[in-house]
């Protein structure tokens, strides 16, 4: 008999961290191998399932950073520490840190796109000597949408870090709870900072670009314009997923199943995918 991949297991919510009104990080009990960029199917009986990227990991737990947008995610926000969630996974390929070692690493991430690369940044933050250089550009809609503020402060010590927002909030920052202790930030799209990235050799880089489809498109365009080789770029795709295991068909593009073959793709492969 084959293993039943569809039945979820119970996972305890160990900690809940609120970033913004709509985005929380849930620390959930989990024992097993997992990579940044992989995802879990998180489920709440009677509301359904949703694929959510691993935003962090450690001994006996994984972290999932969830944006409240619909049926399942709304309901998850009603749950707190001590409660349980159902999960299955991890699925997908994820990022392989081995691919980036001894390179000049550049990570450009927008919005919730920071979640899947957070584990990669954490890894090289702790093992900084394994890459030659490290530049991280994170972009958010406005100051009140900034995620992972504490991390952004910590990471600053051994990498080049740029935090940027598309525009200032419409309301003054002091009325907005989560913008009180924001690290220094700039205003402008992530693409503006690409020409200023300093590397010794453009061919010796590894570049991860994750975010909304438009952001990924323009970021990659900007990188190519600056002369970075396209073989050095990795992207992560997001598609509708119902099963996460190559059966339901929803995530298929051309001959690729995003849930099995991705969600992380070398750009040279990912760019050829036409829905």
């Amino acid at each position: 008999m084959s293993k039943n991949e569809y039945t979820p297991f119970l996972s305890e919510i160990l900690e809940v961290k609120k970033h913004t009104e709509l985005e929380y990080t849930f620390r959930l009990s989990f024992n097993g191998d997992v990579r940044p960029g992989q995802f879990f199917e998180v489920s709440l009986p009677k509301f359904g399932e949703a694929p959510i990227s691993v935003s962090g990991m450690g001994d006996g737990y994984v972290e999932l950073t969830i944006r409240k947008v619909g049926k399942v995610t709304n309901e998850i926000f009603e749950l707190y520490k001590g409660n349980t969630l159902m999960m299955r996974g991890p699925y997908g390929n994820g990022f392989d840190v081995e691919d980036y070692k001894d390179k000049e690493l550049i990570i450009i991430a927008g919005g919730t796109g920071v979640s899947p690369v957070r584990g990669v940044i954490e890894y090289f933050h702790k093992n900084r000597t394994q890459v030659k250089d490290m530049t991280v550009i994170t972009g958010f809609k406005s100051p009140s949408f900034v995620l992972f503020q504490e991390d952004l402060k910590n990471w600053n010590d051994n990498m080049k870090l740029i935090l940027t927002v598309d525009k200032e909030d419409d309301t003054p920052s002091d009325v907005c709870e989560n913008t009180k202790e924001l690290p220094a930030y700039q205003v402008g799209l992530v693409t503006q900072y690409i020409p200023a990235i300093k590397v010794k050799s453009k061919t010796d880089t590894a570049i991860l670009v994750v975010g909304p489809p438009m952001m990924m498109r323009f970021t990659v365009q900007g990188l190519l314009k600056e002369g970075y080789p396209e073989e050095n770029i990795w992207i992560s795709h997001e598609r509708k997923m119902c099963c996460g295991i190559g059966k339901c068909g929803h995530c298929k593009i051309d001959d690729v199943y995003v849930c099995l073959d991705g969600p992380v793709f070398p750009y040279t492969k990912g760019r050829l995918l036409v829905d």
């Binding site: 008999m1 349980t84 509708k240 119902c242 059966k247 339901c248 068909g249 199943y257 099995l260 829905d275």
Partner: protein, 339 residues
Amino acid sequence: MGYLLNENNFNDVIQEWQKDYLIYAPKKMLGEGMYSDTDITRYAAINDISEIEWEKKSDFSFKEVLLPLSETLFYYTEGTVKEAEANRKSGAVIFLRSCDLHAVKRLDEIYLRNGYEDFYYQRLRANVRFLVIGCSATYDNCFCVSMGTNHIDSYDAGLTINDGLFHINSHWEEMNPLFSRCSQKEAEVVIPFVTSNQINVKVPENLSIAVNSASLWKEYDSRCINCGRCNFVCPTCTCFTMQDIFYTDNGKAGERRRVHASCMVDGYTDMAGGGSYRKKNGDRMRFKVMHKVYDYKKRNGYHMCVGCGRCDDVCPEYISFSHCVNRLEDAMKEVTGNE
């Protein structure tokens, strides 16, 4: 081995099989067709050989026997999950045509080999036997010859009717004594397969995703009404959507199901936040056609479409899949600018 059985003999065999198997075959359902007063031929469990529709092509395929339209995966109450039992615990014998047995290979490819082996499929697939009904003549819209699915030997038994007798060619060793006991006589049996259809399709050698930008797809924007019927009747379509159901009398208990889905129907690609892909029906037509005759092969080495023609039979807008495939050659010329 070959055996000749009359109807009573065959019913004796069926009765014997029923101890271990449910018998599925195409059956005429009166008045259940697409238009009022039309009949429909679809698969159902039978008890007697006379229930089988031998003449007409089945409107729906056998696939619901292996992939129920709606399948409960598990039941839940607060904090607990209980795996649903299979809707069929015995084995199954399925009467089907050559193209459809070729389609089984496609279902197996996705459900047993593409990533994890699927628990629910595997348990319904485990003890299934296939009886292939020979085809002496082609039906409307069939193009199995072009797809290379007109012939098959890998059946448990082959079957053809001659002079009122059922001629059976058995590869099912274990059943040979039964066939022998129930037969009028033993003889060499050759199962007929068609060697030509009225419709031929040609998938261009140079087909590539460049064809995505060809103009033909736009025609389907308005012609196709995205009803999804072409997917639901297709023996090789395997997509599903998850659904959580909860029982109103006890809000905490319910079940999770998977139900057949169609890439032609609205909502198939919807993402949270309102994003979706392939909004136009022409883009959906392209996605379906390219999957059937291009990208599935790129991944698995052989075409997905088995040429059964059911999608053409069922389309309320008279859209022909085979005609569309035959237009790909010109479409490739258009996009590559040759000639």
